[in-house]
Point group: C2
Chain length 127, copies 2
């Protein structure tokens, strides 16, 4: 799964949230959680990469699994609580949608950069 | 100037930053500072609206005034340090550019919402 994901969670892209009545379905933090789970294959390792406790990662994953029509993350069968985890096909789809929307937003913002550049003393970049 | 600005600083729009080598030229916080100065006509009042000290607002304004080719904010002539302030034409242009880029980014993201909606149990919105 690692190789199918084309973005780096640390890459700077515009930030937005998809909200529902009772919280945030997916936003920058949850997208990074999904991406680190896909990259590391582990909730605990994803937490370490993000400076988050295992409990916090699991809380975010549980919320995502409940808000979407299908779970986004599944723990590996037979694993312990701290064992492996991976994205389901829906999880991968949601992550790819979020990243694609971020990239399109970045493209939309990019059209304004030449004007910002004229107004700034130094060369700017989107971050 | 108040009536020429069409957005509410508290409105949720995608967040991004225009960075330069030595910092952030403009991002969500600095855009809100500009907008509150335009709305209230005062650095101190802008700070109160944002829960920021006058000193913090002034530090952000000074940075913006230095990074752009012309100042974005001017203190009212003859005013005290805590006196009135307003956006220069360049300040208003920069704020309008930032908001326009945010709105275009929101439109780009909006195209993904029907797909997110199909994947979620509840109706989502961008925030």
């Amino acid at each position: 799964m690692k190789n199918e994901l084309k973005t780096n969670p640390k890459e700077s892209l515009p930030k937005f949230r998809v909200s529902i009545d009772h919280g945030i379905a997916i936003g920058p933090g949850k997208a990074d959680v999904l991406e680190w789970i896909a990259t590391t294959g582990s909730l605990a390792a994803a937490g370490r990469e993000m400076g988050m406790s295992y409990q916090h990662v699991w809380m975010l994953v549980k919320a995502m699994n409940e808000h979407f029509v299908e779970p986004l993350v599944e723990k590996k069968r037979g694993g312990s609580d701290r064992g492996g985890a991976s994205l389901t096909p829906t999880g991968q789809q949601v992550l790819e949608l979020y990243r694609a929307a971020q990239r399109d937003a970045a493209d939309a913002i990019g059209k304004y950069m030449p004007t910002f550049e004229k107004l700034l003393k130094d060369k700017p970049q989107i971050s």
